[in-house]
Amino acid sequence: MASTEIERLASALARLPGLGPRSARRAVLWLVKHRERALPELLEALGGVQDNLSECPQCGNVDTRVPCGICSDLRRDARSLCVVEEVSDLWALDRARLFTGRYHVLGGRLSALDGVRPEDLSIDQLLGRVEAGGIDEVVLAMNATLEGQTTAHYLAERLESFPVRVTQLAHGLPVGGELDYLDEGTLAQALRARRPVG
């Protein structure tokens, strides 16, 4: 029987997505075995994130810098803005290194059944960024789900009055699929085939 502290660590890890009790116990055993180096390293990394983590006031990305690394990267194309539902989608797209512009994280998708309304998403902030000027193209990179595509349609309509080109990820995304789970080849294809809305 493990001590309470070890049990607590195991149960905290078990709640992480993709882990579960079995993998958590293995991770704890590994940490115990490599406690000399691995534990301080992990503690320091976690502490650093806890102290500095914040949501980027500009795009909604989560980073330890303000504004985030993407918004403050001057090599990125400020004229192109990619709108995503969640931070995980931003990371998935950016991992693929295919999009060189900046992002806007909505913080969810419209869903009447889940009670998520336009004012619950950062839509006003998005319109504000577009209104401020300097943006030529808005890429709507919503998931190919009912809620994702409904949100894209809604945004396209709200963006209609602005002098920007509004494009959308092309079909070719697996139906019901979530960006976070796609391989880079599929993502690349979807991004290449983006097209005007309406």
Partner: protein, 361 residues
Amino acid sequence: MALDRITLSRFRNHAETALDAAAHFNLLVGENGAGKTNVLEALSLLAPGRGLRRAGLSDLAQAGGAGGFSVGASLAQPDGADPVRLATYARADQPNRRRVQVNGAEASANGLSEWLALGWLTPAMDRLFSDSAGARRRFLDRMVLALEPAHAHHSARYEAALRERNRLLADEREPDPAWLEGVERHLARHGALIAQARARTVAALVDELATLPAEPFAVPLIALEAGGPAAEEDLALALAQGRRRDRQAGRTLTGPHRDELLVTMAGKMMPAADCSTGEQKAMLIALTLAHAGLAARGRPGVLLLDEVAAHLDPVRRAALFDRLRQGAAQVWMTGTELAPFEDIRGEAAVWRVEGGRVMRA
């Protein structure tokens, strides 16, 4: 034969059951509760969906066991190619997840319909014509699905969009038009595909039924009464125009979720619901046979007939056996005794079923 080397493990009252050397006609004979229909149900799970009892997965595992079950069958291939092994199962640690394997590789349940066309008739369907319109839509959708596997996908997406629209309309505040329009585009796209697929299936069934003799089975005349426009643009427009009305009604009043399958008895021109029990059963058999004929084009067909033969008079029974003998579909039938099957006994594979065990007779 289409299906052979059938195995049931921890399925309902069958601990370990194997059926080998199947024939064109396959008879399962035994007392009520012996486990005959459970074998048919197991076979019905070699198609997408919830099988012929529409049961939850957790109800399928043997009672008192560790949970989980498996069903497998070999499917003969044309030209002497190796048979394909189909299997569906739920694991004890994840009893609510249905898994499918084709030749040992994970596959989707929808993929099963590429291999096999399954149809069935059970005593629970006897009340179909007097049941709700929804029950007849489900009956029709199962027939559509066997012909057009994409139907399941469009139905699921349509249902989701319908719930979303109804919730939006139920809101105290006036719903946002741009939001509604986004949802209605989904409804229109998938709804039109559903309506068109149903219309195609009904038209094909009408053609097939027209070739049937009027005797000894009552021939049904079927028609689809559309619950909304079948063209995407028209349906989108109807939804947009119906917003105020639907908001008052508290639900969406146009669209294929309001379709109705109309069934009338030819000759008498009487609504099926008003016909005698025997006539209703005869029309159900005619529909099932017509569909089996359509579905089995291009892939092997299997028909599961639960307690059908015993309730027919000898003339109709002989006619049914004749039709089934000429048909391409492999037939699995149940009965409490062997006597009604006398005409086909010589050519049939017969099993006695007792207490969840089968013995070749």
